[in-house]
């Protein structure tokens, strides 16, 4: 049994292609069933996000399977395969496992370490569960991928430092103030960026938000949203000294805060530190303000600089994550290769023969005066029992049962008879020759 991956991502396809092959989340049943119905495909999962569209499947004929998946991918969206082919990648076996683990751990994301992708794969898997297109292998596989992603997240610092403007601002504030608990925020201007940043500050413990804007109504509206206070624009400088963190994003053509003004404010605050985040272009705050003691001013470019540095840090962490994933691939691959029908039948027979040998030795030990003839008869009888017991399981493993393929019974059988996992290095041929 082989795991297959066919798909495209932001790395191989422009958005003009990605948007044409996306699967809308509201209509997943049809594509999942059609994919599952492909003759070479046993299980199906479709992951569709704005940065990637991928098909995960299992198949006994990997090469045929990949071809059918590609054709399905193109024809489902009414495209020619030739047009799509150059954007598609495909993986099987260990490469497929590696790819999905990397995607889930956010190593393949546009922003390395971003957390959304894991949730998106979970949702996609949820559809496949709802529409019953996943079985034993993809179930186990995706759960493994989720736990690998979690391990990567906790054991490396891949999601450690902020890579968005608003998180970078929160992180800076933490570096200055230690904790954000009880800190007061002043929003000057009601831009979208400011609003987002303010929300992050509130979520991280800031106590209150005051909003001021040239049109008072908008300030009031935004203040209501944050359960804060609105301030007429003309009056904000008077209460500036009460704010610990100031976010500005007005459309003003000139500086609305100058060095002497902030100097005055900081004196009024007895030098308690202040953080100014100026997201406006053109800038709202005179850059000279940064020279004042205990005042820290960051504009958009400064924040971008912080983000770039953090991204570099994430790339370093990603290297650690890759190593971690390699370990996990080995483990999963071992489990997967033990799922093949043939070695399972061989192992099952061997397991029963082991029991037979032990019990025979015990019985013969107790019954000392048995002749060679009697011993032979008892052996033949126990052989017959083994064959009878094994007949039905062997048939089902080989030919399937109740519409389910034999592969699906491999794992239950292995659990019931406690068969040890076959490691990938084991010589499978030696098993085959001794068995059948």
């Amino acid at each position: 049994m082989n795991i297959l991956v066919v798909g495209l991502s932001h790395k191989t396809a422009p958005v003009s292609i990605r948007e044409r092959v996306a699967f809308p989340p509201t209509a997943m049943e049809k594509p999942l069933h059609e994919m599952r119905a492909l003759p070479s495909i046993n299980e199906a999962v479709i992951v569709s996000t704005c940065n990637r569209v991928e098909l995960y499947a299992t198949s006994n004929q990997p090469d045929v399977g990949i071809h059918q998946l590609k054709s399905f991918f193109a024809s489902y969206h009414g495209m020619d395969l030739e047009e799509l082919e150059s954007h598609l990648y495909d993986y099987q076996g260990a490469d497929a496992i590696r790819h999905v683990f990397r995607v889930a751990a956010s190593l393949d994301s546009m922003v390395i370490g971003e957390p959304q992708i894991l949730g998106q794969i979970k949702t996609s898997y949820g559809y496949a569960v709802d529409f019953k297109t996943v079985g034993l292998i993809l179930n186990r596989f995706l759960h493994k991928a989720f736990s690998v992603a979690k391990r990567v997240r906790t054991e490396t610092n891949i999601a450690g430092n902020a890579v968005s403007v608003s998180f970078a601002a929160v992180e800076l504030a933490r570096k200055i103030f230690g904790t954000l608990d009880g800190k007061k925020i002043l929003l000057i201007g009601a831009g979208e960026m400011c609003e987002l940043a303010a929300r992050h500050f509130l979520n991280n413990g800031a106590s209150s938000i005051t909003v001021t804007n040239r049109t008072f109504d908008r300030a009031q509206k935004l203040a209501d949203e944050f359960q804060g206070r609105a301030l007429p624009f003309e009056e904000f400088t008077e209460s500036l000294h009460q704010a610990d963190i100031v976010l500005t994003s007005t459309g003003a053509p000139n500086f609305i805060l100058t060095e002497p003004k902030v100097q005055e404010v900081i004196r009024k605050r007895k030098n308690k530190p202040m953080l100014f985040i100026d997201i406006a272009v053109p800038r709202d705050i005179d850059p000279k303000v940064n020279k004042i003691d205990n005042v820290y001013l960051y504009d958009v470019d400064d924040l971008q600089g912080v983000i770039q540095a953090n991204l570099k840090g994430r790339q370093k962490e990603a290297k650690k994550a890759e190593q971690l994933i390699e370990q996990e691939i080995g483990k999963f691959h071992d489990w997967l290769s033990s799922l093949d029908v043939k070695p399972t039948i061989v192992q099952l027979r061997r397991r029963l023969q082991e029991i037979q040998q032990v019990e025979l030795a015990k019985t013969f030990g107790n019954l000392q005066n048995l002749g060679a003839k009697e011993k032979k008869a008892i052996e033949a009888m126990t052989n017959a029992i083994i064959n009878k017991v094994l007949h039905r399981p062997t048939c089902i493993l080989k030919g399937g049962h109740g519409g389910e393929p034999g592969d699906n019974f491999v794992d239950p059988v292995r659990v019931l008879f406690d068969l040890p996992a076959i490691s990938a290095d084991d010589d499978m041929r030696s098993l085959e020759t001794t068995g059948d």
């Binding site: 200055i176 030098n271 020279k291 205990n294 540095a309």
Partner: protein, 278 residues
């Protein structure tokens, strides 16, 4: 007689290990190393306490009279203060600094003559432990505040210039460092003040004069004025952050000179050798 030296060597070794652990924490960012470093250092501190007690028993007087004893006691106070700080603030970088400083003091102490000499009769007074303990408590606390101030300035510069090195993520917040600096000042200053006063009272008892403008006294007074100015600035003028950190650094350098520079460079009553010759 040899017991205290044996314990001293064990202490030195443990301090070495904890210094390595704390440096590892800072360089490689390993949290386990930090926790381990803390417990190893705590163990070293306990052994150090035993060292001091054993030396006291073996010599019969408070072991605070020569360079060996003095530096060992300073390291002991520094480690003790740092452990207290670490309980509350968890600052691995400060640990690397405090451990290195304590280790350096221990090494110099280790290569200084360690024999127990006959106690100079002039020092044979219970003012000796009182005066020296208070003074050294102040020294150790101000050493911690010096470390915090350096860390503050490093980080402040990075935040202002917006150029961050890998070190940036290992530093505690500015607020925590400034707070630590202030706490150190508010405990270190009374200790130092009482150290000076107890010294003056002892001087009156021993030599009949409170103040004789001995170089140590003069420098201690200069240092005291610097810290007094810093405390005043913080309490009444609203100094904090960078300015307070710079002054804490200057004052500590002055204190450092008062402690070692005066003894080693200038002749006077506090000179270890001078006392022996009297």
């Amino acid at each position: 007689m040899i017991m205290n030296v044996l314990f001293f060597k064990i202490t030195l070794l443990i301090y070495f290990v904890s210094t390595v652990l704390y440096l590892l924490t800072v360089i490689r960012q390993r949290e386990t190393a930090e926790r381990l470093g803390f417990w190893v250092l705590t163990g070293g501190f306990v052994v150090h306490c035993i060292t001091l007690v054993v030396r006291y028993v073996e010599s019969g007087y408070a072991p605070l009279t020569n360079l060996h004893e003095s530096l060992s006691f300073f390291a002991w106070a520094l480690v003790g203060i740092f452990l207290l700080v670490e309980l509350r603030y968890r600052m691995a970088v400060l640990g690397a600094f405090a451990c290195s400083l304590a280790l350096a003091a221990m090494i110099i102490s280790g290569i200084s003559p360690k024999e127990v000499n006959e106690l100079n009769p002039m020092l044979d007074s219970w003012w000796l432990p009182v005066h020296v303990t208070l003074a050294f408590l102040g020294n150790a606390i101000f050493a911690v505040s010096f470390g915090a101030a350096v860390m503050y300035l490093l980080q402040e510069r990075m935040l202002k210039s917006k150029k961050f090195t890998a070190f940036y993520h290992r530093l505690p917040s500015l607020e925590a460092l400034d707070d630590l600096n202030y706490k150190c000042l508010s405990f270190g200053f009374p200790a130092m003040t009482m150290g000076i006063i107890s010294g003056a009272v002892w001087a009156e008892a021993a030599w009949g004069t409170y103040w004789s403008w001995d170089p140590k006294q003069t420098w201690a007074l200069i240092t005291w004025f610097l810290y007094a100015a810093l405390l005043h600035g913080r309490l009444n003028v609203g100094w904090r952050g960078r300015r307070a950190a710079i002054l804490a650094i200057i004052a500590f350098l002055c204190l450092f000179f008062t402690y070692l520079g005066v003894n080693l460079l200038l002749p006077g009553l506090h000179n270890f050798n001078a006392l022996e010759g009297m």
